[in-house]
Point group: C2
Chain length 333, copies 2
């Protein structure tokens, strides 16, 4: 197995991406190809002991700058790491691609170079979202690739999400729900009302509507929604939890027993932050493009990068792409 | 001024509604009419010292039961407190109506008996949402009356919300934003993209798109969205904050220094709960119906009821209804 890693993706690239790739090479039975500006990548690799590791470098001369629009830039810069990595997948020189770069850029590069899986109407961006499920999170999609959706798109998101949750996240018979403004059947906007009959007829474990509060409280393992709502959901959750932790910290440290309180509460805050943190999970797939592409958070540290690369390996090992293709064939009417 | 209070609305009716009305009668220069089953209401009133207070009772024989669908029930039960109260407004026997009953039921009763303000295409449900604005919250609408919206609806929500925020909440020149999946102009689903030009041309202080994270972080004082998204927003925020406080409490009390930690942290948790609590604000209006109607939270205690009734009085005093009618005339094209 060969996994391509975007050495130039993420807030702390290339240092952190290279460090994560080295860690991944130590634990995985796979060759890892770091794609990026070779002098910089080699400069980082030299800081680590890579003796005996299956690590190679693929040069990509261009870099997407901070002030560029990522999705537009990947079309302009044909020799940037994301495009070069996707092309390796396309030419079947590698089995999966991991990047901690911008997800919109990754989506554009994937559509541009890999294209969609035959029969898939729209690809989706996804994320791991903290939730009181047995596994501690749910799998949420679409979170921003498609602001306006049709029922058939959401139906395919449900199918792809269910397959991914089962095969890569290891959730048996994952429960699938759709975001709505009410739990009762019949609630929803027009899109939801038209989608529900398709989900009920789908070859997955559809459990009904999920209200906003049900998402963190573990009602379902896979939660589908349009990219507009999904984007609002993840950003609102980030905003609300950030604000709440901020206020609590202020309150605790402003009390008379401030230092003692803060000290006692710190492990609890750290634990909560960990549960809200992407690093534990590594990344989430672009589903619907014709290749295994995992996108990590821009703030990823080396542990998150390592976990993301391992997730890419699991997706390959467990045949996610073929399973989706197979699933599509079965539902063709 | 005469304010009608639904004695039968809320989780702890009639006891808490009556208690709140008594408190309101003590501080307001207004007559308060408690509407509901008169023997029960009088039974509760007898528990308080009401000497010298302008408090009367209007009988309404029917009650909406827990297992009924509130919006359907108000159409069936023409002598329930919500319908009787709305009819008093309609006949101009009172100036405002407050209920802590079901908001969907209140909306149905208002549409059924009061109707819409002439020119208003759709009424909206609204809420006070905790946010880092100078006043500590923003005003969010629609939160569920209209799952599918047209740009003209959102334009009217912005106008009504801006007038309400200025006249009743006391926010000078309130900043108005629209929920979107990106801050940059041009981001949004089709509805948002078509609405933004209308908002830019509106007679209010439109400041642009608000991402999910911007809602709690104080970007705007009035935030408009369709009722589907708004409903997901308020329920997700409730779910995320509830889960977070739960996890934190577990973590703090499970630590070695559990009892001390829990004791020290308690005031902080109480403070945060207070900031997230509806009780401080009292209620939110149904905007677009032809009368002043304020809906409080079902969990309201007597303080919340009192504050909600005071809010209704402020809305009357500050001429919200006429201001909206005037605003509509000005934007007619």
């Amino acid at each position: 197995m060969k996994i391509v890693v975007d050495a130039m993706g993420g807030d702390h690239a290339p240092a952190v991406a290279v460090e994560g790739a080295v860690q991944a090479a130590r634990i995985l039975d796979a060759e890892i190809v770091l794609v990026g500006q070779q002098e910089k990548v080699h400069g980082e690799l030299d800081k680590h002991d890579t003796a005996g590791l299956a690590l190679t470098v693929q040069h990509a001369s261009q870099v997407i700058e901070m002030d560029e629009h990522p999705a537009a830039a990947v079309k302009e810069k044909k020799d940037c790491s994301m495009v070069v990595g996707m092309e390796m997948l396309k030419r079947q020189e590698a089995d999966a691609f991991f990047t901690a770069g911008n997800s919109g850029g990754a989506l554009a590069a994937a559509l541009f170079r890999l294209g969609r899986i035959r029969g898939i109407k729209r690809p989706a961006l996804s994320t791991i979202f903290p939730s009181q499920t047995p596994q501690g999170y749910c799998f949420l999609l679409d979170i921003g690739a498609n602001a306006d959706c049709k029922p058939e798109y959401l139906e395919q998101f449900a199918l792809m999400g269910s397959i991914y949750a089962e095969r890569v996240l290891g959730v048996p018979n994952p429960r699938v729900a759709i975001v709505s403004n009410g739990e009762e059947e019949g609630k929803g906007n027009q899109l939801v009302q038209e989608t529900v009959p398709l989900l009920k007829a789908g070859r997955f474990n559809f459990v009904g509507n999920a209200e906003g509060k049900d998402i963190p409280w573990g009602l379902a393992d896979v939660i589908v929604t349009d990219g507009f709502t999904g984007n609002v959901v993840i950003k609102l959750a980030e905003g609300v939890s950030g604000l709440l932790l901020d206020i609590l910290k202020q309150e605790i440290t402003s009390s008379n027993l401030s230092k003692v309180g803060a000290l006692l509460a710190k492990p609890a805050f750290d634990q909560v932050k960990k549960r809200l943190d992407y690093r534990e999970y590594g990344g989430a797939p672009l589903l619907g493009v014709d290749g295994v592409v995992i996108v990590g958070h821009g703030r990823s540290d080396s542990l998150a990068i390592r976990n993301g690369i391992r997730m890419a390996a699991q997706a390959v090992e467990n045949g996610v792409l073929d399973a989706i293709k197979q699933g599509l064939t079965e539902v063709e009417r």
